[in-house]
């Protein structure tokens, strides 16, 4: 299988080179640079595109095209069946003067402003607790994650049931301690905080896991150093844990902002935007205009406003906390 060793050339070669690089000399006998055969060049250049083509196909048809079409829609009026026609900026004028539009926008923003600190504090708090040396960690985690497994609609049905004025579990429990029944979904002041609670309940598991992962990536020797420096548990949490979690917190905040400004599912199922318009969110209103009143153009214009709002908020958050970003 293997040949015998041929003798290694005994003449040694001494190639002297200067320490500084020499400029490239073209050997006159070799004027034509070597290039790869055409077929190989084509496959090498085009190959990678084949990998991204399938994804970009769907991306183009179902994301990019609708995006452009939506922009066009904002300048169109009319109904689907009877046909759409150009109306210039009229849709935008209408929404500026639409009280319900502004109310819906406000509701969405109000909801988001309440939700984000709630889920962050809950998630970080629970993660901190679960990160301690405790038993049954897995059990607690499972309990926390169970609501996340329910779809938003399922969660909404569950809470509809619990929040019933007449005999729902919450009011039953209140009754036990002697407090009168609360009209959770019928009180304009309460309805949005109720949805906040629902989202905290449903999202706790996810946020907790996210923050637990972030905490676990902090090297323990930093805590050792902190305790040698005399930090108490709470201080090392504040001075070591939280700062090192900033990128994750930023990520969660931006994602949560984008996600929660688009709230639709729970108010649709539970209150249909009521009482009055107290829980009408912007996406609900867009849906209503588009599919109940057949005002596609108007709805598209509202959606565009929402888009701009979201982008502004997200970009603002990213800019303010720019130094935390790592790709």
């Amino acid at each position: 299988m293997y040949r015998e060793t041929p003798p290694v050339s005994s003449a040694s070669e001494l190639i002297l080179a200067s320490a500084t690089p020499v400029p490239v000399e073209r050997d006159p006998s070799q004027t034509k640079p070597l290039t790869a055969p055409l077929r190989q060049r084509i496959t090498q250049a085009l190959g990678p595109y084949l990998f991204i083509l399938p994804k970009f196909l769907f991306f183009g048809i179902f994301l990019l095209y609708p995006l452009v079409r939506a922009l066009m829609l904002t300048f169109q009026g009319g109904a689907i069946l009877s046909g759409l026609h150009w109306v210039g900026f009229r849709n935008y004028e209408r929404i500026i003067h639409d009280d319900i539009f502004w109310r819906s926008l406000w509701n969405s923003v109000y909801y988001t402003v309440l939700v984000i600190p709630s889920v962050l504090i809950t998630g970080i708090g629970l993660a901190a607790l679960l990160n301690r040396q405790i038993k049954f960690r897995a059990v607690f985690l499972i309990l926390l994650v169970v609501p996340s497994v329910a779809s938003t609609v399922a969660a909404s049905v569950i809470w509809s049931y619990l929040l019933q004025f007449d005999g729902g579990l919450f009011n039953q429990l209140l009754g036990i301690v002697g407090i009168g029944p609360v009209n959770w979904l019928g009180d304009p002041q309460l309805v949005i905080p109720v949805f906040v609670a629902l989202e905290v309940w449903r999202g706790a598991g996810f946020y907790t896991i996210l923050f637990m992962a972030a905490m676990q990536s902090i090297p323990t020797h930093l805590y050792d150093a902190a305790s040698i420096d005399g930090a108490t548990g709470w201080q090392s949490f504040r001075l070591v844990t939280l700062p090192l979690m900033r990128p994750t917190i930023l990520f969660a905040t931006v994602m949560a902002t984008i996600w929660n400004l688009q709230l639709f599912d729970s108010p649709y199922v539970m209150t249909r935007g009521g009482p009055g318009y107290a829980s009408m969110t912007i996406v609900m209103y867009i849906y209503t205009q588009a599919f109940r009143y057949d005002q596609m153009g108007l709805a598209a214009a509202m959606a565009l406003v929402l888009l701009i709002l979201i982008m502004l908020l997200a970009l603002a958050q990213l800019l303010i906390f720019r130094k935390e970003i790592e790709f």
Partner: protein, 284 residues
């Protein structure tokens, strides 16, 4: 070295108090999380039109609601639709996104950065913006109330591409070199080297995609106009009525809708823990 117990307990003093507080707080949180679900479960086992359901129902469970929901109700069709849509969408997305993620992670080609930026820039776009024109498109293609309408738009989301790209970057490029020397083609490297090593990342992506598709509400609400293609969320939303709701039925449906997700979660939960730390390959 990273650890699970990052908050150092002070030796002895105050330790037990902290621990008691911790267990109490967690127990309370656990109760508040799972309690409603338990109550939900209990209700579903009671044949009821009434609104009040004390916990004593557990003594005499009845499967009547489940019987109704599965045999006398469109729910079964909704379940099938949800399963089909979520499964197909997940599998296809796993392929699309890992192929693209691999290309962005490892290959050189012109316009790579711009194309990537393009994907990135759409992350913040709210669903409401694209849904309307997508509906018009589905309408024009006569795909309203079909599986295609439910599955195809979901394939466009770029989130998975970022995830997979991130993950694949942790795979040592030497493995691809070795593969090339061994004789693999580009696609061969993808199937033999990249894909097997992506399994934890794919599991996480698959889990989240399945969950998203399973609980998708707005789009199916718009485009699944009959029980033929209706998935569970829009279906479930029709059950609680304006005035009189059969809560037994509603809760049975809700519980049934959670079961597949619970099963999948249980099966793949170990990948969740791995998935967060990126790819793991042999240290050699």
């Amino acid at each position: 070295m990273t650890g699970t117990a990052n908050i150092p307990a002070h030796p002895n003093r105050g330790r037990t108090i902290k621990d008691i507080f911790t267990y109490l707080a967690l127990a309370l949180a656990g109760l508040m999380s799972a309690g409603p679900v338990v109550y939900l479960l209990a209700t579903s086992f009671k044949q009821t039109y009434s609104r009040m359901v004390p916990l004593s129902v557990l003594w005499s469970p009845s499967l009547a609601n489940y019987h109704t929901i599965w045999f006398d109700h469109p729910f079964k069709q909704w379940m099938i639709n949800s399963l089909v849509v979520a499964t197909i969408a997940t599998i296809v997305i796993l392929f699309l996104d890992s192929l693209a993620g691999y290309a962005f992670a490892r290959k050189r080609f012109r316009g790579k950065d711009s194309l990537f930026m393009l994907l990135l820039s759409t992350l913040m776009i709210p669903l409401a913006v694209t849904l309307l024109p997508t509906f018009l498109l589905a309408n024009r293609l006569n795909l309203v109330d079909s599986y295609q309408a439910l599955i195809l738009p979901a394939l466009a989301y770029p989130v998975g591409v970022f995830m997979m790209r991130q993950f694949i970057q942790t795979i040592p490029s030497e493995l691809e070199d070795a593969g090339r020397i061994d004789g693999m083609t580009d696609l061969g490297i993808y199937f033999r080297v990249i894909l097997p090593l992506c399994i934890p990342g794919l599991a996480v992506l698959g889990l989240f995609t399945f969950l998203t598709q399973w609980s998708a509400f707005l789009w199916p609400l718009i485009v699944a106009t009959s029980d033929r293609s209706r998935t569970i969320p829009p279906g479930l939303a029709t059950i609680p009525g304006q005035y009189n709701t059969d809560w037994g039925l509603a809760t049975a449906a809700t519980v049934s809708s959670m079961v597949p997700m619970l099963i999948i979660f249980a099966l793949f939960q170990r990948y969740l823990r791995q998935g967060f730390s990126g790819g793991r390959t042999t240290k050699g």
